[in-house]
Amino acid sequence: MPPLIIVAKKEIKIALREKLAVALAVIIMLLLGVALYAGFLSYQQQHVVITQTQAEKRQEWLNQGDKHPHIAAHYGTFVFKPKTVLSLFDFGLDAYTGTSIYLEAHHQHEFMFRPAQDHSSMIRFGELSAALVIKILVPLLIIFLTFASYTKERESGTLSLLISQGISFRTLTWGKILAYSTLLLVILLPFLIGLLILSIFGSHQQTMPDVTTRIVLLALIYAVYLFLFIAFSVWVSLHSSTGRNALLILLSSWIFLTILMPKTVANLSENFYDLPSIREFKAAIEKDKAYGLDGKTPRSVRIENLEKELLSKYEVDSVQQLPFNFEGVMMQRGEEYSHKVYDHHFGKIKEIFFRQNRLSSLASLINPFLSVQNLSMAFSGTDTYTFLHFEETVETYRREMIRKMNNDMAENSKYGEFFEYAAGSELWHQLEDFSYQTPPIWKSLKYYYLEFVSLLLWMVLILFLINYSNRKTKPLYG
């Protein structure tokens, strides 16, 4: 049997006889089980509520009775953000972004800002999810398992005996890493199997079609992340004179990497790239809709220009002579202008989001926790970009709804007969029910290349440290 395996087997045997380590492992397993189950319950409950409510709202829309299309456009409807099945693993920004949005003519109702006003930024990463347990608590277990991996051997004198058997530090270190990786795999395997079962059998495929690929990617990035923690902890223990020093260094690193730095980066990104308040955002849109994006073409001028354009085009003297209802065209043009205004302002908001995320991505180059945090949300479909994709899908749907109402009004009613015309069920059925699918994961990956680079660089660094920096290490100091 290769010495590497012999060392690993010995380490596993000793770890399994350490009551504290076993107790911690059991606690982690329980926490993961509870977090997974709670996440699944929440996912199922929300899915049922959203599906039912969405169906009710759809029936309300279809059965709203005969009315003028523009009144129907204001009557509007609700759409709901479906929970992605992997949100049972990583809640990501779900709690932050909210779940429903009201769709009506002229107005893009807020969706993303309201929860941010209700909660502090702490809520983003503070809820107990399985991802949180693996990202933050499992590294703590790793620290308690590994901090004495070398220092105890050195302090008790077994290290001299070990080295006198002709085994190299490299083999010894890899043996220890293999042992702790195996132990961790055993601790996490039931959870991984549970996640797979719940995600595949509990999944509503129409929302997230590539769920299996995403789970594989999640498993991969977490495997890399936990391996980095194990290898780093063993390396620190190798180079520490006492267990106390190793524990101090590792706990300090853990606090810095998993708590202080993520909070600091989040706060810095908010300070550097400040989002306008919902009031400022809406006020800016209303102002530009009223006075024009250039500030010189108010709504009345835009209507006047449209009237002139159409009268000239159709060579008629009044809007009543136009072959369609001018009011319908006017409303659609007004709607299209408000789209332009909204896109202009929302584009700015998106740019701020991108910049905030960019800072987090850059910071991930020095902190693999941030890489995993960002990638975990992306693979779970609970990240900013998936949310923005949902928001765009909703807005496209809203615009299509309003376009259908305005077109019907233009084609089927007459100028000035606002209260006389009423559309019916046939028109309401022309608007398809809202459905949403997360974009394929490969489309999201382009936003996260820095996170991949970070994990790769950290892997190279750790492998270098393990393989080369212990060449001159001696079991005795002096």
């Binding site: 010995k10 008790s156 077994t158 001299s160 005996l161 080295i163 006198s164 058997q165 002709g166 005795l476």
Partner: protein, 233 residues
């Protein structure tokens, strides 16, 4: 078998070992006597390649231990003053582990036999080492040396703190290994044990081997006088 050629170890301005020259052949037990800080343990650690020499060579079977660390370690077995084993493993599990590292695979029965032959009480073989006395741990060390079929034994004050009975048992085991041709270098404070089991004795002071002779050439009384004289000087 075991040779030091001008072997020197310095820590800054402090010379822990100064140009040591000695050789230990098959079937010899060379005992290094000296006060604390005389350089005995430094010599052992240099042969183990646990520390690098500042100058000179330490060789086992004519192989420089610094250059051929792995090869020379295959030939030796080491028992420190206080052999520390993995306390949560049993004596048998410890022996199995250390033998495995050296590429020696034994069945459970063979390991039990080795431990019994080395004097460990049978009812302790499967108990955790945390319940062992120091003497019991040293016996596991001897069992390991036998299991590894070591041709060189490095002992760093192995009987220090052992009761007379355990020390005698240990000496018997050493003599048994000597009969099998094992070359032993032992650092010790125990003059009686050195005279009783050693074939050669060297007296060290302040990193220098100031005198060495065959054990048969001196009586215990002469050895004691010689040792005290050098210590007082």
């Amino acid at each position: 078998m075991l040779q030091a050629k001008n072997l020197t170890k310095k820590y800054g301005n402090f010379t822990a070992l100064d140009a040591l020259n000695l050789s230990v052949n098959e079937g010899e037990i060379f005992c290094l006597l000296g006060a604390n800080g005389a350089g005995k343990s430094t010599t052992i650690n240099l042969f183990l390649n646990l520390i690098e020499p500042t100058n000179g060579l330490a060789t086992i079977n004519s192989l420089d231990v610094s250059q051929y660390s792995k090869e020379t370690k295959q030939l030796l077995s080491y028992i420190p003053e206080n052999l520390m084993l993995y306390s949560s493993l049993s004596g048998l599990e410890n022996l199995d582990f250390f033998c495995g590292l050296g590429g020696k695979i034994y069945s459970k029965e063979e390991l039990e036999e080795l431990l019994k032959e080395s004097g460990l009480q049978p009812d302790f073989i499967h108990k955790r080492v945390s319940s062992y006395s120091k003497g019991m741990r040293q016996k596991v060390g001897i069992a390991l040396a036998r299991a590894r079929k070591a041709s060189v034994l490095l002992l760093d004050e192995p009987t220090s703190g052992l009761d007379p009975k355990a020390s005698n048992e240990f000496s018997e085991l050493l003599l048994n290994m000597k009969e099998k041709g094992v070359a032993t270098l032992m650092a010790t404070h125990d003059l009686f044990r050195a005279k009783d089991t050693g074939t050669h004795i060297g007296i060290m002071r302040e990193g220098v081997l100031i005198e060495h002779f065959a054990t048969d050439d001196v009586s215990f009384r002469d050895l004691e006088s010689l040792y005290l004289k050098h210590m007082h000087n």
